[in-house]
Symmetry: C2
Subunit: 150 residues, 2 copies
């Protein structure tokens, strides 16, 4: 158990949580590996999990117009994907697929939402961390650091 | 007073707040107009206000390398700017300047931070709205909708 707690402390989205709260959240999270080409979640589907990428690259696809899903972005380790599972109406706004072998922290979004609602200070801290991550992402877009498609 | 409450309900960042909470937040907010060229806040300075743009355009500048601040983005009505004033270390990460005549809802960030901390459900709801707005912004970047510099 204590190994799992220490591990969670290293994730940006769980910064600032007390050991007790880290311990609680750790019950909802699992480290999972996937091969390339694995769909993690699909646009329009119910947001059941949030993923923090620890290794590898993930492609992001959006349905645009009448064409099928188009690749619009890629994200790397230290990025959180599936945040829309934590925001009403809790529905994914994109489809994601592993581009390489990946390792992710897969977090049960339904349970995390309940926990964040029941324990508001915990939810507040996690949301602050997510806001920080989203703002970093916007900064990267503004500075052109997202144009690294390989 | 009730006029001010109704007005706040129209702002995306205050969706989902009860009338009591809207009333409380409305004490921290003022509608302010500025001419073109007005610096709203500067990169690296203490985050004292958050601004919700209601009319006009605002340019975003970042200091990049050894050059002076460079324009990296522009934002329009219905956008929130200065969100970094709500996230530790509460320091602006960009400089913003009105491109046109603008009207903004200027919110006292110090007081809002205190209020969000004291009244966690209120803070949680406002954070969710901000997360939604940040994610919309990321979607716009992904879809190339930000490349509308004039």
């Amino acid at each position: 158990m204590s190994g799992k707690i220490i591990q969670l402390q290293e994730y940006v989205c769980f910064r600032g949580l007390t050991e007790d709260r880290l311990s609680t959240v750790s019950q909802l999270a699992n480290v999972v590996s996937y091969p390339p080409g694995q769909v993690l979640f699909q646009e329009g589907k119910s947001g059941d999990s949030v993923y923090f990428i620890t290794k590898g690259k993930v492609d992001i696809f959006y349905s645009i117009g009448e064409e099928g899903p188009a690749k619009v972005d890629q994200v790397f380790a230290e990025e959180l994907i599936g945040c829309s599972a934590l925001i009403p109406p809790f529905t994914y706004i994109a489809t994601t697929k592993s581009q390489t072998d990946i390792e992710v922290l897969k977090i049960d979004a339904n349970a995390l939402r309940s926990l964040m609602k029941e324990n508001c200070p915990l939810g507040f801290t996690i949301q602050q961390n997510i806001m920080q991550m989203l703002m970093n992402r916007i900064t990267n877009f503004r500075l052109g650091l997202w144009t690294t498609y390989s």
